[in-house]
């Protein structure tokens, strides 16, 4: 992955020099291990700050919403699927984008590394190995063992839409059970599901990092913030907490690309992907649909056909 950076910088500088774009959105080196910071480059000199490694998991499509400039954007497979969704939903014009596609080998889950010790000082990578240094810790680990869960089942690591690719496409997993995690929960009984979800959400502090990290959540006023009418309470009541998570997930049905931004952002480690994953699987099973793969087909949940089945209307 780190070998991509020279090409990323070269393309970024070129499109800025040629005035193809006003800015390029990418990542710069973070101040803590495994965290890079989304940033913009408006000049060729700014581009020198760009980095690319296994810690660029934030979905940069989130930074396109409502922007008026001509923008270059560095985009992984999932980011490009969210760009497609943004274009379909009229959040950005294709013509104003220059998409620098990055074939993705998966992003490191910082929680897996942070679980190794209280103080991680430095994380570096070389090829398939990640070197972790911390308080009384100096270890080499296989990159594959540290990936975010969504990356381990990803079957669209290559950009689906781009103006230029920074490298050859990567090999796509064919030997994974994409829906093993969802099936596990589907197989639970009602009581077991209830206690599972209860436990899942009990630490939620309603900071809305999951919502705000998601490129799909761009409503001018989110339903949780509406006051006329006020749909739900704002305290820590468990019904309100669950309502937020369930409704947020439903708003993502048929749109979610499982980029993992929500779970990655959560300060208390909740994997709220559990909800969107189920909807993702349902859309796949019912409509053969995967979000953000094409500009040419309307998503199943924002269209209808005269012969749609209607047995559910009683």
């Amino acid at each position: 992955m780190i070998d991509y950076i020279d090409k990323i910088k070269q393309i970024s500088k070129q499109i800025l020099t040629d005035c193809r774009v006003d800015m390029v959105i990418g990542f710069r080196q973070g101040t803590v291990p495994m965290m890079n910071e989304p940033c913009f480059a408006k000049t060729v000199d700014d581009v020198d700050a760009f980095v690319w490694d296994s810690h660029c998991g934030i979905n940069l499509a989130n930074y396109l919403t409502g922007r008026k400039e001509k923008i270059g954007i560095i985009a992984k497979g999932c980011d490009t699927r969210n760009i497609v969704t943004h274009i379909i939903e009229n959040k950005i014009d294709r013509d104003r984008l220059y998409i620098i596609g990055v074939p993705c080998r998966g992003m490191v889950d910082r929680r897996k590394v942070n679980a190794l010790c209280d103080s991680i000082y430095e994380v570096t990578e070389q090829g398939d190995t990640v070197k972790v240094t911390g308080e009384n810790l100096d270890r080499q680990l296989a990159r594959a063992d540290l990936l975010q869960e969504n990356c381990t089942t990803c079957v669209h690591p290559n950009p689906v839409i781009y103006d230029e690719l920074v490298a050859d496409e990567v090999e796509v997993h064919t030997d994974v059970d994409r829906w093993a995690d969802v099936k596990k929960i589907e197989a639970m009984g009602s009581d077991e599901k209830w206690s599972y979800f209860d436990d899942l959400l009990k630490e939620c502090i309603r900071c809305y990092a999951c919502r705000n990290a998601c490129p799909l959540c761009y409503c001018p006023t989110c339903f949780v913030d509406e006051s006329k009418p006020q749909w739900m309470g704002k305290g820590q009541d468990e019904t309100d907490v669950r309502t937020f998570h369930f409704l947020r997930a439903y708003h993502c049905a048929g749109r979610c690309t499982d980029c993992g931004a929500c779970a990655r952002a959560c300060p208390v480690g909740i994997d709220m992907r559990v909800f969107t994953r189920k909807l993702e699987k349902d859309c796949f099973d019912l409509y053969g649909w995967e979000a953000g793969l094409t500009l040419d087909v309307r998503p199943p949940l924002d269209t209808y056909q005269a012969d749609d089945p209607e047995e559910f209307i009683k």
Binding site: T31, E37, I205, R206, G235, P267
Partner: protein, 355 residues
């Protein structure tokens, strides 16, 4: 200062005795992190933590607090009256609070206990709480408490300061509240102060050595407010921000709240809940106008409040205790240490006079 030796074999039994007089709150592990929770009877605090993911702020200032309840049903006694909850703040001991979180209460108190206004809820809870602090031997990778007027062994904001000294704790009795707690717990092994203080000093030096970052704040007060407000770096600082509430909710010194009435049928409650200057709704007027409608304005507000307005208003340093939580948990790596450096450097530049 009086120093008590508490053998670890006497720790649990002392806490158990104290539980007859205090509600005990202490560090508890939930999944992969620690937070402060009321300790169930017989449950000991888990003192093995580095620092808690959520600060101790909520022990005195809960995220969601019922100020009163009401009934709108004319058949009910006391209908249409506001009923305050009873016995809200029993004597409480927060066991294992870190010096940084205790220092945050001192900073927050300047807001909640001001000459003109006193917040009865916060003050009452604070006054009824004894802070049984645990000195910090393993500062985290983003800690910078020594830059914000505190330190891993700074007991000034605590009632008791415990140092974990192998098979026993050494407890500095900082206040009368702390002395009362020690007495209720039945720990009586007073030790010779000078020798014990040497141990504290040595441990303090070792802990401070482990703090890996420092932040300069010395020019913030001199900086021109409008020069900082109009500084060119805000667009760059704010770009990555997703305007979630992680930084403010995890921050022990952020105190802003919202008031919500929740009515269900004929009964309801008025809640005070944490709010965040990162949320657009925080400043939206009834007219729909929002003076901080843009993200860059909200991000600037957070840093200006902590590192400039607070500094100028109270003349007691920054509104930050250097606990590093916002640094480590920000989903997009916005780092207050870096922003503070930008602001402090701006303060170094002489104010240009065009006259």
């Amino acid at each position: 200062m009086k120093i008590i030796r508490i053998d670890k074999t006497d720790w649990d039994s002392g806490l158990k005795k104290s539980a007859d007089h205090y509600r005990l709150v202490g560090p508890t592990q939930e999944k992969d992190f620690f937070l402060y929770k009321p300790l169930k009877p017989g449950k000991a605090p888990d003192m093995s933590f580095s620092n808690t993911r959520l600060s101790a702020k909520g022990t005195i200032y809960p995220q969601s607090h019922t100020l009163f309840t009401y009934s709108l049903d004319p058949d009910q006694k006391d209908h249409h009256l506001l009923i305050e909850p009873e016995n809200e703040n029993p004597p409480t001991a927060v066991i294992g609070i870190r010096p940084c979180d205790a220092a945050a209460f001192v900073q927050v108190r300047r807001n909640f206990d001001a000459p003109d206004y006193q917040d009865p809820y916060w003050l009452n809870a604070y006054e009824n709480t004894v802070l049984v602090g645990l000195a910090c031997d393993q500062p985290g990778p983003a800690c910078f408490c020594t830059s914000t007027g505190g330190g891993p062994y700074d007991g000034t904001a605590l009632d008791l300061l415990l140092a974990d000294n192998d098979n026993h704790y050494l407890a500095q009795v900082v206040s009368d509240k702390g002395a009362a707690f020690i007495e209720k717990a039945g720990w009586a092994g007073e030790v010779e102060t000078d020798a014990a203080m040497q141990i504290f000093q040595a441990r303090k030096a070792a802990a401070e050595d482990k703090i890996r970052s420092t932040v300069d704040t010395d020019h913030l007060a001199d900086a021109g407010t409008m020069a900082l407000y109009d500084a060119p770096f805000w667009e760059d600082v704010a770009f990555a921000c997703i305007n979630c509430g992680t930084c403010t909710f995890l921050c022990p010194t952020c105190w802003c709240f919202d008031i919500q009435d929740e009515t269900h049928g004929m009964s309801g409650q008025r809640l005070r809940i944490w709010d965040s200057c990162m949320f657009p709704l925080f400043t939206r007027h009834g007219t729909g106008h929002n003076p901080r409608g843009e993200k860059v304005q909200r991000v600037r507000q957070r840093f200006m409040h902590k590192l400039k307005y607070y500094v100028d208003k109270y003349e007691a340093g920054v509104q930050c205790v250097g606990c590093g939580r916002c640094v480590l948990q920000c989903p997009v790596n916005i780092d207050i240490r870096k922003v503070c450096e930008l602001m402090n450097n701006a303060g170094k530049q002489p104010v240009t006079c065009t006259a």
